[in-house]
C-alpha cells in the first residue's frame, strides 16, 4: 500500500475514532439525562405521596383530599405484603406495569397511543406509543411494609433514540468522507517533496552522475534527506570516476610491458635457431601475449566509451556499412560453410558515430560467427521504424545459445558462456560490453534472445534515423 493511502487511512481512522468517542458520550448523555430528571421527579413525588398517605388497617389507602392532584398524570399503585393493591390511580386500569425489585428507575413500553392518556395533546405526537418511566419505593406505615410503584407516561424514547443514533451515524459517515478527502490532500502535500526527491534520485545512474537534488534550505526532515542523498551521490560519483580511471590507468600501464613482450616474442619467432621442441612453447606464449594485447586494447576502448569521450556523429547510409562489414566476414563464412542472409530496407540514412557503429556490427557478426556451428546459419535483418526514428536490427545465428539465467549477464564485462571455447577464439570477454555501450551512447536498446543449443538472436533498436 502506498504511504499516501496509509497516511490518508490513519488520519481518517483517528478522526473517526475521535468523533465516535465524542458522539457516544453525547449520545449517552442525551439518552440518560431525561431519565435522570424523571427519576428525580418520581422520587420527589413518591416522597410527597408517602407523607400524605392515610392507610386504614387491612383496608384501602387514601390520600388527603387536598393531595388528589398528585395522582395526575402519574400512574400509582401501592401494594401490601400480600401483593394486594391497596391504592391505584386512574391509569392503573388502563395499563398494567410489572413490578421489579429495584432501586433504579426503569422503562416500560406499551402499545397505547399517547392520545389515550393525554386526550388534549398536540396533533403531531398523538399517534406515538406511550412508554412509562417506573420507580419502585418500599416504605413502612405504622409498622407494616408496603411498596409504592410510581410511573410517569412519557413519549416512547426508543424511537427518539433510534433517530438520534441514525443522525449520529450519518454524521460519522459524513465526517469520514470529509476526513478521507482532507487526509488524501494532506498526505499528498506531505509527500510532495518526497515525490520530487524521488523523481530526481530515480534518474541518477552512471551516466547522470552530475545530477543533485536542489535543497530548499528550510532544514526540515525532507531537506535533510535530500542533503544525505546528495552526499551519497557525491560519494558514488567519486567511486564511479575513480573506478573508471583505475581501469583506464591499469590498462594504460600494461601497454608498455605488453609491447615489450610482444616485440621480444615476435623477434624470437624470427630466429630459425629455436630448437623445434621449444618452438611450440614460444608460439603458445606469443598467443597469450597477443590475447593480453587484445584485452588491454579492448579495456582502453571500453573506458574511452565509458567516459563518453568519443562521439563524432555524421550522416551516412547504414546499408553500406553493414554490407562492408559482412563482406569482410565472407571468406570466414565460406570456410565454416555458414549461410548468411541479409535483408535490409533500402537506403537507411542514419545520424551516428560511423566508427562506433562499424565496431558494433563487427562485434556482433564476430560473435555470430565465433559461436556458430559448421554449416550453420546467420540472418541479419534491418528495418526502419519511422514512427520512432529507430532502426531495428535482428541478428539471428544458429549458435550454441545462452542459458536463460545468463541472458542479461552476457553484456557484463568478462562474461563468457563457455570459457574454453571463446578463449580458443581469442575473445576478450568485452565484445558485447563494448557493443552495449555503443548502443547506449546512441540512445538505443539491445537484448539477447536465445534457445540454448539451437539459436541466439540479438535484437536491437537504435534511434538514429536521419530526418530527411
Amino acid at each position: 500500500m502506498k504511504i499516501r493511502h496509509r497516511i490518508t487511512l490513519w488520519i481518517t481512522f483517528a478522526g473517526i475514532l475521535a468523533s465516535l468517542v465524542l458522539s457516544l458520550i453525547v449520545f449517552f448523555e442525551m439518552v440518560e439525562e431525561p431519565y435522570e430528571l424523571l427519576d428525580q421527579e418520581l422520587a420527589r413525588q413518591a416522597d410527597a405521596l408517602i407523607s400524605n398517605l392515610r392507610i386504614l388497617p387491612k383496608g384501602p389507602a387514601s390520600l388527603a383530599a387536598n393531595r388528589q392532584h398528585f395522582t395526575s398524570p402519574y400512574w400509582l399503585r401501592i401494594i401490601d405484603r400480600q401483593q394486594r393493591t391497596i391504592f391505584a390511580s386512574e391509569l392503573v386500569a388502563t395499563v398494567d406495569i410489572p413490578v421489579r425489585n429495584t432501586d433504579e428507575g426503569y422503562s416500560v413500553n406499551t402499545d397505547i397511543p399517547l392520545r389515550k392518556i393525554f386526550p388534549d395533546m398536540e396533533e403531531d405526537d398523538r399517534d406515538e406509543l406511550t412508554a412509562f418511566r417506573v420507580r419502585v419505593f418500599p416504605f413502612e406505615y405504622s409498622g407494616e411494609r408496603f411498596v409504592l410503584q410510581i410511573a410517569r407516561p412519557v413519549e416512547n424514547f426508543n424511537q427518539e433514540t433510534v433517530e438520534l443514533f441514525t443522525t449520529i451515524e450519518l454524521g460519522l459517515v459524513a465526517s469520514g468522507i470529509v476526513l478521507l478527502l482532507i487526509g488524501y490532500v494532506t498526505a499528498g502535500r506531505i509527500l510532495a517533496p518526497i515525490r520530487r526527491i524521488n523523481a530526481i534520485a530515480g534518474t541518477f545512474n552512471e551516466k547522470t552522475l552530475n545530477i543533485r537534488i536542489p535543497l530548499r534550505d528550510n532544514r526540515d526532515e525532507l531537506d535533510e534527506l535530500a542533503a544525505s542523498l546528495n552526499a551519497m551521490f557525491d560519494r558514488l560519483q567519486y567511486s564511479f570516476v575513480r573506478q573508471k580511471e583505475f581501469v583506464a590507468n591499469a590498462a594504460h600501464e600494461l601497454k608498455t610491458p605488453i609491447t615489450i613482450l610482444r616485440v621480444s616474442l615476435e623477434e624470437l619467432l624470427q630466429c630459425d635457431t629455436i630448437p623445434e621442441k621449444e618452438r611450440g612453447g614460444v608460439e603458445k606464449l606469443t598467443q597469450t601475449v597477443l590475447r593480453m594485447d587484445r584485452l588491454v586494447r579492448n579495456l582502453l576502448d571500453l573506458s574511452a566509451l565509458e567516459m563518453d569521450r568519443t562521439q563524432g556523429r555524421e550522416n551516412f547510409l547504414l546499408n553500406d556499412l553493414v554490407r562492408e562489414v559482412i563482406d569482410e566476414f565472407q571468406p570466414l563464412l565460406q570456410r565454416m560453410r555458414i549461410g548468411c542472409t541479409l535483408r535490409m530496407e533500402e537506403a537507411m540514412r542514419v545520424w551516428a558515430d560511423r566508427e562506433q557503429l562499424r565496431r558494433l556490427f563487427i562485434n556482433l557478426m564476430d560473435n555470430a560467427v565465433k559461436y556458430n556451428r559448421e554449416g550453420g546459419e546467420i540472418r541479419l535483418q534491418a528495418v526502419s521504424r519511422d514512427a520512432t526514428g529507430e532502426v531495428q536490427v535482428l541478428l539471428f545465428n544458429t549458435g550454441e545459445g545462452v542459458p536463460a539465467a545468463d541472458r542479461d549477464k552476457v553484456f557484463d564485462q568478462f562474461y563468457r558462456v563457455e570459457k574454453s571455447r571463446s578463449t580458443a577464439f581469442g575473445g576478450s570477454g568485452l565484445g558485447l560490453t563494448l557493443s552495449k555501450r555503443i548502443v547506449e551512447l546512441h540512445g538505443g536498446r539491445i537484448v539477447l534472445e536465445s534457445k540454448p543449443g539451437q539459436w541466439t538472436q540479438i535484437d536491437m533498436a537504435l534511434p538514429i534515423l536521419s530526418r530527411s
Binding site: 609491447t259 597477443l290 568519443t310
Partner: protein
Amino acid sequence: MRILLVDDDPDLRAQVERVLSGERYLVEMAGDGDEALEKIFAEPYDVIILDIMLPGTDGFGVLKELREEKIDTPVIMLTARGDVEDRVQGLDLGADDYLAKPFSMAELLARIRALLRRGGNTAHPVLQVRNIRLDPKSREVTRDGALIDLTPKEFLLLEFLLYNRNRAVSRFTMAEHVWGDAFDPFIMSNNIDVHIKNLRRKIGDDGNEIVRSVRGVGYMIKDGEE
C-alpha cells in the same frame, strides 16, 4: 638511416633498439623530451619515434618545438589508444604517423619504411621483389611491367610483407594491419590464407617462392634485390 627513439621505458627502448639495429638502422635513444630535443638539434635524423607520455617536455612539446625550428624530420607518434584527441593534436602539430601501444614490430617497421620512402628517397619509391613492382604512391602493382588488378586487401598484404622484407610476419599481425582494430585479429587471421592464396595466384607465384609460408608463424617475402 638514423632513427631517434624517444620513450621513457628503458626496457621498451632496449627491445625496439635491438630489432631496429638488426634491420641495420642506426638507433639513438632518449628517455625524456629535453634529452630528445638536445639530440634532434645536435644532429639530423631520418625518422623520429616519439612517445607522447614523457617526463619533462612531453611528446607534443617536442614535436611543436622541432616543427617551429623548421625541422621536418618524419615523426611517428606513439599514442594512447582510443584517444582521438591525442591523434588529432599530434597530426595538427605535424606528426607524420601515429601508432598505438601495444604495437607489433612488423607494424612499426612498415611505418618507418613507408615514411623513409615518402621522405628522402622520392626517386625510388617503388618496392620490388623479383619481377613484381609495387608503387605505394599510385597504389599500382605490375608484373613484368603489366598491371595486376589486386583487391585493396591483397595490396595491403603485399605492401606490408614488402616493408617487412626478410622477416616472418604472423597472420595475426597481418590481420591487425589489414583490418585494423575493430575486427578481432584472432578471427580475421583465418582469412589471411585465403587472401594470400589469391595474391599468389595473381602475381604468378606458383611455387610459393615469392610469398613464402613460414611454419608456425605466417608468411615472408625473402629477396634482397629491388
